[in-house]
């Protein structure tokens, strides 16, 4: 597609690099046919630059404004999400957790006198290592892995 006509158009548009620009200028200067072709394109280009835009009907703006009058007003996403509400919800949950923990601590009778580690450790660990446990463990790993992958890809898209 790199014909002389395309080069001439690119020369007129000013999109050629310096080296090619000089080559094209030389061609125009030395070849009368190319010069004639260039002048023709130059005239067409000047006619195209005088291109006029069409005018819509007189009531166009009014029609648009009437149409959007029925629509809800656009608001920025920042104002859509009220941060105070988010903080209030967060605060409620934090306070609830603190209250529950305080209540549990006050109610619990913590005593280390009867604490016997050896006795407590007397259990058969292998009874818990069933194939089902293993599947559950692997499934949980897979879900966590997918969540991390999703977050990673989302960050990449936003960048």
């Amino acid at each position: 597609m790199n014909t002389i006509e395309q080069q001439l158009w690119e020369y007129i548009d000013g999109t050629l690099d310096e080296a090619t620009k000089k080559i094209v200028e030389e061609k125009i200067a030395s070849d009368p046919e190319i010069k004639e072709q260039y002048e023709g394109l130059l005239k067409l280009n000047s006619v195209l630059e005088t291109l006029e835009l069409d005018e819509p009907s007189m009531s166009f703006t009014r029609n648009v404004m009437e149409s959007i009058a029925l629509e809800p007003a656009p608001v920025t996403l920042k104002t859509k999400v009220n941060t105070q509400i988010i903080y209030a919800i967060g605060g409620f949950f934090v306070l609830s957790l603190v209250a529950i923990l305080t209540y549990v601590c006050l109610q619990a009778k913590i005593s280390l006198t009867s604490f016997n580690l050896a006795k407590k450790m007397e259990f058969n660990l292998y009874q818990y290592f069933t194939p089902n446990t293993l599947y559950v463990f692997l499934f949980a790993d897979l879900v966590i892995g997918l969540i991390f992958l999703d977050q990673f890809l989302r960050r990449k898209v936003h960048k």
Partner: protein
Amino acid sequence: MEQKLTDSELIQNILAGETAQYALLVKRHQRFVFTLALRFSKNREDAEEIAQDCFVKAYKALATFKQTSKFSTWLYTITYTTAMTFLRKKRLNTDSIHDEETFLELENHTSGLNANDYEKQDSHAFLNQAIGQLMPDDAAIITLFYKGERSLEEIGETLHMEPNTIKVKLHRARQRLKEKLQYLLKDEVKELL
């Protein structure tokens, strides 16, 4: 005072609740959006419908406009997609848009005029007529390049194409336009061009 506001400032005001200022944005861009729609629809009634629809869509989505590009580029992208959807609805799918035969009827109609009729028209009328006979994509690229003063990159963004593709398409569009003008004007083409 309001007329001096930039597109960006107007958008901020609209998002802050001054929705009436959208009329200023519409007035500023309506001619170009309408012309672009006309390049696709080839008839004023449809073009007006497309242009109106596109301004309503832009209003609804204004909050999502990130201002990483010009508002006009974003608006022209909406115009392009709205016009394409409109054409598809009229059972003119993308393949037939690129089919020159679709516009053969229009071309035959206009070519029926004799040279005396053309003498009465000025160069702008000839030019608009020739552009009207081009395929929608070609006509849109020429309009965006010459009237929208868009770079190849911006046109590419609007029409969802690579800048190099736009460059080739622009070249072909001008070639076809030249042929249409030569066909329309015959001997008079030398005076005009």
